[in-house]
Symmetry: C2
Subunit: 331 residues, 2 copies
């Protein structure tokens, strides 16, 4: 049986680099005027100028801490959730921690968790399982993503879709049991494994042997095939997800889908008869921020009073690999 875990989001923070409009990107890359908004639904997104994942992640954490009653010394673990990274070595959580004000003063461990776009969701699930009120009482999950470096201006679809940014969520063990983490689940459909890919830069096409080439080192996506796979599997996945818990999709107060693409979000709305007002989105103003999209929306929904204490919140989305995942929690 699925056991609720007494875990509560106590505060959140974010960092966004410079805003860049679609018309600016369209002019820079000879993309027809209006293409981004029409096909991707993206008017604005943020792209780094000087920032790294470490810089943005540290600022997002500091902002979340400021809004809480906690000090860095209260934190038992920092999970860095994401697909992009400042260095191949050391890992991202170590870099983010070292860039925190007073980060060197505390020996807080860090873990990097990567399930690409669903990394925040996976980290939330894992944090809920680690949280025991003893060794782990307060855990920070930070998703800091720089997508803009891996974009190819010749590929209209991806060049206009992605944004950069960071969001941090502080989770605490909640003995009151009003807030809780209910369930997380992911399924991986390997027939789509290479339909979202950055081919170069790893062991397979090592940069020593394969110098920079926008085709090899940029994000590529077979959107049509992925959409077909999602269409085929989403419904079964959701039925299974709700099968062994005391809730149904109708009980959900607020849905935070990963901001994969405009067409993906539309498919989601079509497949489920959920009141459109319950489905959160920031793709128009932020684009797809990889693993930072979901926690950014959580942060924004809290501050816009759309996600309220006691609300049942569903996180759901797809990721490279190809996976479908969902998490249910009571805020």
């Amino acid at each position: 049986m699925i056991n609720n875990k007494n875990i509560k989001i106590v505060s959140s923070g974010c960092y966004l680099p410079k805003c860049i409009s679609s018309s600016e990107i369209e002019i820079n890359n000879n993309i027809p005027k209006g293409w981004s908004e029409k096909y991707n639904g993206v008017k604005n997104r943020h792209h780094v100028t000087f920032e790294t994942n470490g810089y943005m992640g540290a600022r997002a954490i500091e902002s979340a801490l400021e809004k809480s009653d906690l000090h860095l010394s209260d934190i038992d673990l920092i999970i860095s959730a994401g697909a992009s990274f400042d260095y191949i070595l050391p890992n991202q959580s170590s870099t983010i921690k070292s860039e925190l004000k007073y980060g060197v003063s505390y020996n807080i461990p860090g873990i990097d968790i990567d399930t690409t776009c669903l990394s925040f969701m996976t980290s939330f699930d894992i944090a809920s399982k680690m949280m025991d009120g003893y060794q782990y009482k307060n855990i920070i999950i930070v998703a800091s993503e720089v997508a803009s470096k891996g974009l190819n201006g010749n590929n209209f679809e991806t060049a206009t879709l992605f944004g950069d940014g960071a969001a941090a969520i502080i989770l605490s063990f909640d003995s009151d049991n009003k807030s809780s983490y209910i369930k997380g689940s992911t399924k991986t459909y390997s027939e789509g494994v290479f339909d979202t890919i950055i081919k170069g830069g790893g062991v397979k096409y090592y940069f020593k042997d394969h110098s920079y080439d926008p085709e090899l080192h940029s994000f590529q996506m077979n959107g049509r095939k992925l959409l077909k796979l999602a269409k085929r599997e989403m419904n079964n996945f959701t039925v299974d997800f709700f099968n062994d818990i005391d809730y149904s999709m109708d009980d959900v107060d607020i849905v935070v889908p990963h901001q994969a693409s405009k067409i993906g979000l539309e498919l989601f709305k079509k497949m489920y008869s959920i009141d459109a007002g319950k489905i959160m989105s920031n793709i128009e103003s932020h684009g797809n921020c990889i693993a930072a999209s979901i926690p950014l929306i959580i942060h924004q929904s809290i501050h816009q009073n759309k996600l309220k204490r006691g609300d049942l919140c569903l996180l759901i989305g797809t990721s490279a690999g190809f996976s479908i995942g969902a998490s249910l929690f009571r805020y």
Copy 2:
């Protein structure tokens, strides 16, 4: 209080690519004859020829499955534990799963966990917390590492130290409670954050802007500073580790230290009065295989009957970041 978790290593497997002797590496890189064995204690290691992390990881998992009573359909989760990766996107666990025989037939989710050299240890800890006998009954942890691509022949210390390889461990929920996972803990000392680094290839020095340069894109280590840090912190770390559990270092039957370096292993032996016969090592025959070192030794110790059912086993080591970590389990 720390709670034991009913978790059991049911089988293990490994894959090793072609063996390469120190004299071969010394000749190829104009390193004085005998340097590797004298300074690093490494006679042989394995380096990939055609293999990727995906290939090696899949073969290690297949080997572990063959030795168990389990079929791939029994597996609830695949954790890829490591610092090297085939592609920036998708994540490594997705790639490994897709390369498994029948991997496409099952929708097993995957998670990548990266705490650099301690990734296996962290994954074991997380797996023990996820294992509930319901949603998670059988979890595979696979550490597949290709270190050889990131080596600079001009840097004698690192060029001769690292090896490639993969090991997989299958964990099962064990209601008999004879085997158990007892405790895991890590501390990160950020003053050493950049003393183990591969500078290029990530967001900070992106390959679009920084073409291949052996200095920028190879592994660099400030061994002297790290050793000083380890010397200062190891003892406090170990005292804290055993402080809230019913065991002491004397109760440990077998120690599996990360194979960081010859000098690191010697320091470890000097600091603790542990019978040398209890401390496992394969650095002479395998070098430092990043996160694969610890599970490779676990696998080899099981098959050499050095790790026996009921033994109390301590995993311990340091990692880039700079972190010290340990895990205690009853095999």
